[in-house]
Each structure stands twice: as C-alpha cells, then as structure tokens.
Symmetry: C2
Subunit: 84 residues, 2 copies
C-alpha cells in the first residue's frame, strides 16, 4: 500500500524530467502552457508547505524535486520564448 | 492544515486546464513531451488506485480529474502530431 504511493509519487515526479530534456534539446517551449506551470508550481509550493507542516517526508521529497523541475521548465519557458 | 492540502490539490489539478485549452486553440502540441504525459498519466492512475484503496476522497477526486485532463492532453498530442 505504502509502496503504491511511493511508486505513484516517483512517477508523477520524474515525469517532468523528459519535458525538461525536450525543451533543453529543442530550445522551444511554445506549446508548453505558461499558465499551467505557474498554477502547477504554486500548487507544488503549497504541497511542500503541507508536507513540512505534516512532517511527511515522502510529500516533502517528491514536491521538492517536482518544484525544482517545474521551476526549470518555467525558466526555459521565459528563456526560449519567441516574440511572435 | 487540511485546507492547505485542498488548495494545493486544486491548484495542481486545475493547472492542466490551460494546457488543454492552449493545445486545443493552437492545434499544436509539439513542445509538450509525450514521455512526460505518459509517465505522469501512469503515476496519476496509481495515485487514483492508492486513493481508492485508502478511501481518501480528496486523493480520488483530484486524481480522477487530473487523469481526465492528462488523457485529453495525450489524445491531443497524437491528434495534432506532425510528421517532421
């Protein structure tokens, strides 16, 4: 049961790695929604605070990594934005 | 405390709505990573099973909606793929 939660958390966390790699390689993030990653990053920050306040290590670990990855995606989104 | 978890869950769930809208409007999902959404969808399915087995209604609700949205994004990814 706990294992299921860990595997789920690992999957939804590492999912952002291929997105980071793809944007880095293509230098293009046009189709990636800025609003999505702003909302998502805000949510992940709140999950992190929730995890810290609840002393829930898996929640803290998963969301700390997800936060880092989504911040990289947001950074890329600005770095590779093109004036249309 | 519980409220914080709910707001976090709502944010990380509704985050996918602007991504769905953007792909629908632009008919382009080139920069959206297929691997990301395959991994993410697999993870969300596991969170959903975890929520059902734990009788955790907020986990079930958030992940059911996220699953639907990420399946729509995957569907769009195939529908609007272009042969490069």
């Amino acid at each position: 049961m706990e294992t299921l939660g860990y595997v789920a958390g690992i999957l939804t966390t590492i999912a952002f790695v291929p997105q980071v790699i793809q944007i880095y390689k293509t230098k293009s993030a046009k189709d990636v929604s800025l609003a999505m990653f702003l909302l998502f990053t805000a949510g992940v920050v709140m999950w992190l605070v929730y995890g810290i306040k609840s002393n829930a290590f898996p929640v803290i670990a998963a969301n700390a990594i997800t936060l880092l990855l989504s911040l990289v995606i947001l950074f890329f989104k600005f770095k590779y934005r093109k004036t249309v």
